[in-house]
Symmetry: C2
């Protein structure tokens, strides 16, 4: 089969390659008759433009990079789904990379994406990331950068987040309202802003209710991809350390489900002995036994909003009217289930 090419179309119709290219790209200085001729033949030949050539003209790759800490993760896969849906609507392709919560890998991936010519980068930071030079370098090269969920406040780009502090406050207040007096917290890793904010929300709810804050009731879960095991481990440790805890606010659902698993093994009744509130509303939290009271974190919507923000910024740059970065905070709500007492 003759391979369709600009040259072949040009030869067949007896017009220049430049005119064929202009016709296919809808340039106004090509007559409608010529355009129709070219487009019909191209269609007939199943002609596929060489995207690299297109790229050289438009200076756009219509691809974006997406870096996330973990793929096998209910919340993040919902975010990805939201981003892909909107990107597809606008004709963008999404290159996905997993940082494994590693700062070094994240840095390498940013460079790889930039050198590959993506139009922008969407990122949720690795837990390890405490230096932001690689992110500032993206902005210095006039690439669009949007952060979501795990962000660095100090980097001057748009951010799509939830109000983690407020959500954690709601979760802890719910434990207090249901009668808990001695409330522990299984927090996330030390660096990510969202685990700091959830911890601060927990602490503020205690203080606002005149419950003294006790640092020995705070347990750390460092490792995102060992969440379930960390929940088990911390639950076991908590039972050794304290016999009076009657409620726990836990940084994510998967840690909470690990903790519940351990408590059940040890004959601790939930919610009668210990009430538990998780965070994120993973699907499995609705089907475990007992089902888990948790904060609903809108992953799909976060993905959509992240792409929308990228797209608005790219368009504004094209119109030579760039817009300043903004922070969008999405609503969360408490989903009451069996792991806390009704009142």
């Amino acid at each position: 089969m003759q391979k369709a090419s600009l040259k072949f179309i040009s030869k067949t119709l007896g017009i220049s390659v430049a005119t064929v290219s202009k016709a296919l790209n809808d340039y106004p200085d090509v007559s409608k008759k010529t355009r129709d001729l070219v487009c019909n033949l191209a269609k007939e030949l199943n002609y596929k433009p060489n995207s690299f050539a297109v790229n050289l003209r438009t200076k756009e790759s219509k691809t974006i990079g997406l870096i996330i800490p973990v793929i096998v993760h209910y919340f993040f896969s919902n975010v990805i789904e939201g981003i892909l849906k909107e990107a597809e609507n606008e004709g963008y392709l999404v290159i996905i990379l997993q940082s494994n919560d590693s700062y070094e890998l994240e840095k390498k991936q940013i460079n790889l994406l930039i050198s590959h010519g993506v139009d922008g980068i969407l990122i949720s930071l690795a837990n390890e990331t405490a230096n932001y030079d690689h992110l500032n370098a993206v902005l210095a090269q006039d690439k669009t950068l949007v952060m979501f969920d795990k962000i660095a406040k100090i980097v001057k780009c748009s951010k799509i987040i939830i109000d983690d502090r407020n959500a954690a406050y709601k979760a802890t207040q719910h434990l207090i309202d249901s009668g808990c007096k001695r409330i522990a917290h299984f927090r996330g890793a030390l660096l990510p802003q969202n685990s700091i904010d959830r911890f601060l929300g927990y602490k503020k709810a205690l203080l606002d209710n005149n419950i003294p804050y006790d640092a020995s009731l705070v347990y750390i879960c460092e490792c995102e991809d060992k969440s379930f095991e960390e929940g088990q481990k911390n639950a076991k440790q908590l039972l050794k350390d304290h016999d009076d805890v009657d409620g726990i606010f836990i940084n994510t659902d998967l840690i909470a489900i690990g903790a519940i698993n351990e408590f059940r093994k040890q004959g601790v009744r939930i919610p009668e002995d210990i009430s538990i509130v998780g965070f994120s509303n993973w699907f499995m939290s609705s089907v475990t036994s007992p089902s888990l009271t948790t904060i609903n974190q809108p992953g799909f919507e976060m993905g959509q909003k992240t792409f929308h923000q990228f797209h608005a910024e790219i368009k504004a740059i094209k119109d030579k009217n760039p817009i300043p970065p903004r922070t969008i905070t999405l609503e969360t709500d408490l989903v009451k289930r069996e792991s806390t007492k009704s009142f």
Copy 2:
């Protein structure tokens, strides 16, 4: 800041742009002295090559397309993780698209990826896909195509699969061995090869054990993203239709967990009244109550093997020694848990 470019490096060193480009790309006709000069300056300036220019020379984009039916899916996200890990090791970027089990979308996505210049496509087919012209078109353009999990036997490309028929046979045999006499099957959609094969494995196990096959015991779950709800619905229907069923082999874990949810609501004891075996070994199957006996489907390994096969084929083409397509079948095993009786 002066933007690093080939032109700037050329001007600074007083050599031609072509020589700079050749030096950076390690062409043998550039002296070591010139190459060192250029590379050192490029490094100092933090010069990033324009990937489109690189592409024009190597005719490779070092990107691959990955099309999967659903992202928010424990098995598929494990496959993605396996692919991303190996792709990163070999310097490939992965563009991910979700077909939503739609044939039309899948077709559009294939064209988009091809026109974008990917080096190859990895795909798990949409449930709807029954026509394979779009896949044959990929092969006709000498692009590398590898299928995994949901495949079309008839398309002449490499395939990474499990032996679904054999695995389903093992699952059904386990129900029979544990004492079940009247075994239903919640099957997947009608088209995908793997749900056909699981059904056939179920049927063969019955016949080999002299249990008559009864079509009224087979229920269909069409919609991948409503799996949980379909499990509930079919469980409800089964209780209306049959009061003698004592075992069910279910096409995927999420459908099984939906069914268990409905049975529990209706006071059906598992495994005492009805034993259940799922398929895939989702993480949540180990933490539900009762935990689910299931077939372990190695998603991460399937992702790795899929990329390896793509990479082997691409390399073979570069070496002008293309290799014929092959089908790789991964091992599965039965994971015994609480939803079936021990014996």
